[in-house]
């Protein structure tokens, strides 16, 4: 499309990177053959894959296939995988800072600070994987000869709409993964380059194929498909355009999806554990006590 070829000043033609979708552990173009242009660092035009409804379906299928194996990992193991992603983002912090600067229009120092905060937040959530049980589990003192306990389990496939900033994306994706779910993240008009770069960091971390899927596209086009897809069990609407939220909540009702819809806060503060606890299901087990 209309990206402008650039040279690095010494007569060498630079090699532009197309930003693809990340589905089932592979970087793919949209099946629709579409792309859109974003302005990257240095004002360079970047081609970004433009996901279709069918790409959403492919991502959900991949996520659902991966769910049993991912949620069966020990919480300790999942925690290490989240921590590994923090390592990958840290090692690419220069690239992320440039993207944040280009996409979010903040100053250089602020961009660096945001990347650091995002790394620290992945680390924070990495530590939660094996502590959620301490918050959400209980042994219940029932009035009878029964051993009765409750444990949190992952909800399943959770779709998250990406906020426009790296820190926002981290704050919605990390809790979903920390709780043991698999994710389909949909990045919209703003922040698509950051989301696509995060996909590259994910791909080089230890997240197994299909556990994290990242799509770039247009929210008005995809919100309906995502919110009504029966293969999706939960929705985080924090990054969805406000005018699309009510319709997405309504679509979620068709299969009784769990919906987290509390707007986009100031992402700089620690977001707490309400998202983690929104995407777990509490299971209670009874057994008689006797001889």
């Amino acid at each position: 499309m209309g990206s402008k070829p650039t040279s690095s000043g010494n007569g060498r033609l630079s090699v532009a990177k197309t930003r693809k979708l990340y589905i089932d552990g592979a970087f793919v173009r949209s099946e629709s053959g579409r792309s859109f242009v974003e302005t990257g660092p240095g004002g360079v035009a970047v081609n970004v894959a433009w996901a279709s409804r069918k790409d959403v379906r492919d991502a959900v299928s991949a996520a659902r296939r991966r769910l049993p194996a991912w949620s069966a990992l020990t919480a300790y193991n999942r925690g290490q995988i989240l921590y590994r992603l923090a390592e990958m983002i840290e090692s690419r912090s220069g690239e992320f800072a440039e993207l944040v600067l280009a996409q979010e229009g903040c100053g250089e120092a602020a961009a660096r600070a945001e990347v650091e905060a995002a790394v620290d937040r992945w680390v924070w959530y990495a530590g939660w994987t094996d502590k959620i049980g301490h918050l959400a589990a209980s042994v219940n003192p029932v009035a009878g000869p029964y051993f009765n306990f409750s444990l949190p389990e992952p909800t399943g496939v959770v779709a998250v709409f990406a906020p426009a900033s790296l820190l926002g994306i981290t704050s919605v994706l990390a809790p979903v993964m920390a709780a043991g779910n698999v994710a389909v993240m949909v990045a919209g008009e703003r922040g698509s380059l950051v989301a696509a770069s995060l996909a590259e960091a994910v791909a080089t971390s230890d997240f197994p194929a299909g556990s994290v899927n990242i799509l770039t596209g247009r929210q008005p086009e995809l919100a309906g498909t995502v919110s009504t897809h029966r293969g999706i069990d939960g929705l985080d609407l924090s990054g969805l355009l406000p005018e699309l939220r009510a319709e997405a909540e309504s679509g979620a009702a068709g299969s009784v999806k769990r919906v987290f819809s509390e707007g986009a806060p100031d992402w700089t503060g620690l977001p707490g554990v309400s998202r983690v606890l929104s995407f777990v299901e509490v299971k209670t087990v009874w057994h008689p006590i006797g001889i």
């Binding site: 918050l135 209980s138 029932v142 029964y146 409750s150 009784v256 299971k283 009874w286």
Partner: protein, 491 residues
């Protein structure tokens, strides 16, 4: 079980025991000709003046006329609840709120017999169940949550969570008083005020509960009860003054409510339908398992969202289990709900009976083999005998749809993996049962069953300290325990 009863169970001839009628007296309860709405601490007539009948499903005789709340009545009730929230209940110290709720629990215990008889008359459930399960558990829920009212800072780490405001609560007809307790007790303990809408066919025990609120001197407006049908419930959940909606009922209506609340910012919890698998392994304690199967699906005429309506039996013992089950079912006594010997009461309504009959016919038409215990059905009233379907395939309607009646579908499995796959092959995820003597297998199964409650070597147990609620299309949110408070507190 004694060894003598084991011998009987193993023998061929079913033991015939004649029982003399042993009805509980109706004199303990005074059913009025007409019931009003309970708004702002008083019983008041509906503004539009409409009333509807509630009938005794065991006799089809009208019991009373009950006020039909219109939108204006719902508005009055929500307004009263809001005033009570702002001026009285929310500012009140937790320890004072606690004592009101403790009082309610105590009065339920003191008026237990009256409540049990009224519940059985209006609902059709056996007095043995209303007396031993519904009413004592209702008291227990109030007692349990009363103790939380002054301990909200211990619910979770972080700042002390506040209440939400006015809770609009819509409950079903299968456990009328108990469901009212599940809804009201945690909401009131957390500092909310309530507007409760009981089911159209079973409003009477909630209105007696309203009298108990008066007796307990609960401040006016803290708990309001508006009676009516679907339109009343719809008006309640849609009311802009309601900040929190809690619904127990069908998945179909639950989806409608979730859709209607889209974009409203209201908090919502849903406790919806189920199609639970009750899984019997070949090493299960067989006599206990038979009792568990019976309790799982024939308790409360199968009008239980978590009923074990799909029996999954390991293939090697399937014939034996079905044979023993039939022999056990032949001993169940169906009839007068007020008779203390009755095991199976009346189906709650003509509409529900029609649904059970229709789905049973579909089960036969699709190839299932139906067997019913030979018990005689009374001439008047709504009755359906305990029924077992064999030769059921997972694709059959009766293996997929919630019947909400005393109808069991039997299927088989060979391996634990297949049992899990079949059990989870449903849009629902409320409960499941597992029967085996092997402890590690119980935990392995419990881990894999996608259901909110797993009963291992037991079934249909409930306790106020034990969280209850569904996975998947069985809803979200938990009732019971510390988890049950979260639904009524700010995030």
């Amino acid at each position: 079980m004694t060894s003598a009863s084991n011998d009987r169970a193993a023998g061929n001839a079913p033991l015939a025991i004649e029982y003399a009628p042993a009805p509980e007296s109706k004199a303990v309860v005074n059913i009025r000709e007409r019931y009003q709405l309970f708004i702002d601490g008083s019983f008041v007539p509906p503004l539009q003046g409409g009333y509807f009948p509630t009938i005794n499903p065991a006799t089809e005789e009208p019991l009373a006329e009950v006020a039909l709340a219109g939108e204006d009545d719902v508005d009055r009730a929500v307004g009263a609840a809001r005033r009570a929230f702002d001026e009285v209940w929310s500012p009140m110290p937790g320890r004072e709120r606690a004592k009101y709720i403790f009082r309610i629990a105590r009065i339920i215990q003191e008026r237990a017999r009256e409540l049990a008889v009224l519940e059985s008359i209006d609902n059709g459930k056996p007095i043995r169940e209303s007396r031993d399960v519904d009413v004592p558990l209702a008291a227990a829920y109030f007692f349990y949550y009363a103790g939380w009212a002054d301990k909200l800072e211990y619910v979770r780490p972080g700042p002390v969570p506040g209440p939400i405001g006015v809770a609009g609560q819509v409950i079903p007809w299968n456990f009328p008083l108990l469901m009212a307790a599940w809804k009201l007790a945690p909401a009131l303990a957390a500092g909310n005020t309530c507007v409760l809408k009981p089911a159209e066919t079973t409003p009477l025990s909630a209105l007696l509960l309203a009298e108990i609120f008066q007796q307990a001197e609960l401040p006016p407006g803290v708990a309001n009860i508006v009676t009516g049908a679907g339109a009343t419930g719809a008006a309640l959940v849609a009311h802009p003054g309601v900040g929190k909606v809690a619904f127990t009922g069908s998945t179909e209506v639950g989806k409608q409510i979730q859709g209607e609340l889209a974009g409203s910012g209201k908090r919502l919890t849903l406790e919806l339908g189920g199609k639970a698998a009750n899984i019997i392994f070949d090493d299960a304690p067989i006599e206990q398992a038979i009792e568990g199967i019976v309790n799982g699906i024939y308790f409360n005429q199968g009008h239980v969202c978590c009923a074990g309506s799909r029996l999954l039996v390991q293939e090697s013992i399937a014939d034996e289990v079905v044979e023993r089950l039939r022999r056990r079912l032949a001993t169940l006594r169906l009839g007068d709900p007020l008779d203390k010997n009755t095991d199976i009461g009346a189906i709650n309504s003509a509409a529900q009976l029609e649904k059970i009959r229709r789905l049973s016919k579909t089960g036969e038409a699709e190839g299932g083999i139906s067997w019913s215990s030979g018990c005689a059905l009374p001439e008047r009233g709504y009755w359906f005998p305990p029924t077992v379907f064999t030769k059921v395939e997972p694709a059959h309607t009766i293996a997929r749809e919630e019947i909400f009646g005393p109808v069991l579908s039997v299927m088989t499995f060979r391996t634990p993996e297949e049992a899990v796959q079949r059990a989870n092959n449903t849009v629902y995820g409320l409960s499941a049962g597992v029967w085996t003597e092997k402890g590690s297998r119980i935990l392995w199964m419990a881990e894999r069953l996608r259901a909110g409650v797993v009963w291992a070597n037991t079934y249909n147990r409930f306790d106020p300290a034990s969280p209850f609620g569904g996975f998947k299309e069985s809803g979200f949110g938990r009732e019971g325990g510390r988890h049950g408070l979260e639904a009524y507190l700010e995030r």
